[in-house]
């Protein structure tokens, strides 16, 4: 091929490349303007904020029966579990409860326009005046508050509902919660290492109607 023809070919190729780049221009303009429009990555810190690792959140979401239509996360954090639920399927109704204002504001931002009820308050003070078919939760562990949270959450379950929770490993939890659990699993140590803690944890499923392990 002559140099002249090759140059024309390269020009066409370059024009095509420019055309392809035009499709992404808005996307990069948005990234470039992230600090001006407030969409830049943000740091949120809160007491006892150890988010559920993404893989574990996906697994917990998958443990809910397919027939469930109403779900709740009583310690929503920054919405890892909510995102996993969203990715899985659309539920008729989702309820999120979060005590920290910064986290709640982030949750408001990501749940806007979805079928989600968001409450910013201490879950332990919430009256059980509504029922849900499933609860997926990663409660705070400090001072055995996970035991209190899980027991309080059970009050919100319908008779045939299911609760999937993560709690801290230890004799107290085993004594208080294992008898209620339909399924109990000691998670591998270091499961929460990426979230800033090396605490050993357990995964449990409670189905009040079916009763706990004997």
């Amino acid at each position: 091929m002559s140099a002249f023809n090759r140059l024309h070919e390269l020009r066409m190729d370059n024009d095509q490349h420019r055309y392809n780049m035009d499709e992404h221009r808005e996307r990069f303009a948005a990234i470039a303007g992230r600090h001006e429009d407030g969409t830049a990555p943000r740091a949120v810190s809160a007491y006892q904020l150890f988010q559920t690792p993404a893989a574990l959140a996906e697994r917990m979401a998958s443990m809910i029966p397919a027939s469930v239509e109403t779900v709740m996360d009583p310690s929503a954090g920054l919405g890892r579990i909510w995102s996993a639920l969203e990715r899985r399927r659309s539920y008729n109704h989702k309820t999120l409860v979060e005590i920290n204002a910064d986290c709640a504001s982030e949750l408001y931002r990501i749940t806007e326009g979805t079928n989600t009820r968001l409450m910013q308050r201490d879950f332990l003070t919430l009256e059980p005046d509504f029922k849900v078919e499933a609860i997926v939760m990663n409660p705070p562990f400090h001072m055995r508050s996970d035991i209190k949270h899980i027991k309080h959450a059970l009050k919100f379950l319908t008779d045939d509902g299911v609760l999937v929770a993560v709690c801290m490993a230890g004799s107290h939890r085993e004594r208080e919660l294992k008898p209620l659990a339909h399924y109990w699993e000691d998670l591998p140590s270091g499961t929460f290492k990426s979230e800033g803690t090396n605490t050993d944890t357990c995964l449990m499923v409670i189905r009040p109607k079916k009763g706990g392990q004997s």
């Binding site: 140099a3 002249f4 090759r6 140059l7 024309h8 390269l10 020009r11 190729d13 370059n14 024009d15 490349h17 420019r18 780049m21 992404h24 996307r27 990069f28 990234i31 470039a32 992230r34 969409t39 830049a40 990555p41 943000r42 740091a43 949120v44 810190s45 809160a46 007491y47 006892q48 904020l49 150890f50 988010q51 954090g77 920054l78 919405g79 995102s83 986290c103 982030e106 931002r109 990501i110 979230e195 800033g196 803690t197």
Partner: protein, 473 residues
Amino acid sequence: METTYCPQDNKLRLYVGRVEHEEYLALRSEGWTSTPKQDCDFVATWTPEREDTAIKYGDGIVGDEDQTPQDRAVDRAERFAMYRDKRTEEALEHADKYEGTSKAHGFQDPKKAERAAKKHDRLGDKATSQWAKADYWVSRTAGVIKHALYTDLPAVRMTRIKKIETTARRTAGRTDERGRRWNEHCKMRLVYERLMIDAQGGMAEDLDIEVGGMFAGQLIHGVTKSPATKRASSVKLMARTQYGANKGKMELHSFKIERYGKSSYTPPTDETLAQLAEIKKATKEARKLLPKKPSLINPTLAEAERLQSMLNEGNKHPQTVLQVTQEQYAARSKGTYSYWGTKELCGGGKFASTSWNAQNTPTICKLRTAPGDSGSMSHGAPTRLIVLTDKPSKAMPADVWVDPAVLYLEDCKADVKLIELWVNHDEPANFDYSLINKAKVCRLVYSASSTQRQWTEQGVSVLFPLLKNNERV
């Protein structure tokens, strides 16, 4: 070691590999550019000194360059395209990572949260940075291709030939060794470029262009030849004059033909010659119908003094008539920026204003004038009349002493109603606008634009009492 010369881009190239630092600095100071990304190692535009260097490196031989500038441009464009693709790929990869995770980074430890957010933010920086680089390489690639194709255009080659011809003419008379070598080099380049242009269709300049022929589809009214080359350099064609955004009338314009090929010219035929003769005849007849231009008069001293006293009237810096010889006047009135010159005189001893919106009465004659002198500053001083002492003088027409504005004022007073209609934008369809021109000369009305029409203070005081019931509509 190999050295080459390429006539297409007039470049010398050294294929010498890495050189010692001192040698490198010497080459740089002589104008050689290091091109490590290309096959050759140093490149420079031809000069006698650089040719000597090339001969030295090539052991007495400067060979022909195998790669044409177009081949080189292909290599360059391909290299730039590779950079472009790589940067685009990286940008998209970073952007995917940036957008793939949640923007909120939550931890109990604030420092850890801050670190995670910053790490995520850096991905955004990387994405936009690589994107900007990809954009840069897109434009560089486009530039390389455009330049390579541009330099090969016949029109560009013709311009290049003109430049080489200029250098050849400038160096033709030089007797020193350097000048002689430049001249020889230019001649050789011209031979090469002319061969190339002939292969591309030839230049219009080489043709014997005649009046009455057609150039680019237009009838040729005139041909200008270069005094240096004795070849046609431009042709006169009818074209519409463009005044900013407004299209003007068809006029003769001069078009340079240096960038046109042979195919743009068609020799005259009987038909085109007849067409040209017809146009010339029509132009001549139209010129006869034009009003006669006012003649330049050397007034008598008495008349000049009378007019000067009229001009001086009421001015703080009265001037006297300047009496000079023709030679003195010619010396001071020469050139574009001379102060002395001629001015058009209208009725009533008033000079025509050159302002764009001036309303002048018809010009009667032209007089020689100089700016009035008022001491340190000449602003505000009346124009000074010039009388040539060594040339015959002539009496000015009697109309010079009659101010037409006096006659116009009577006309305006008679048709004051029509003027009022014009001010109110209510003039009838067959309105005679010469009346308004008269009113403007008398400074009775004023229009800053076609939609802004108003009475002047003088108009209000002179014409309003004549309007019925002294009412403005």
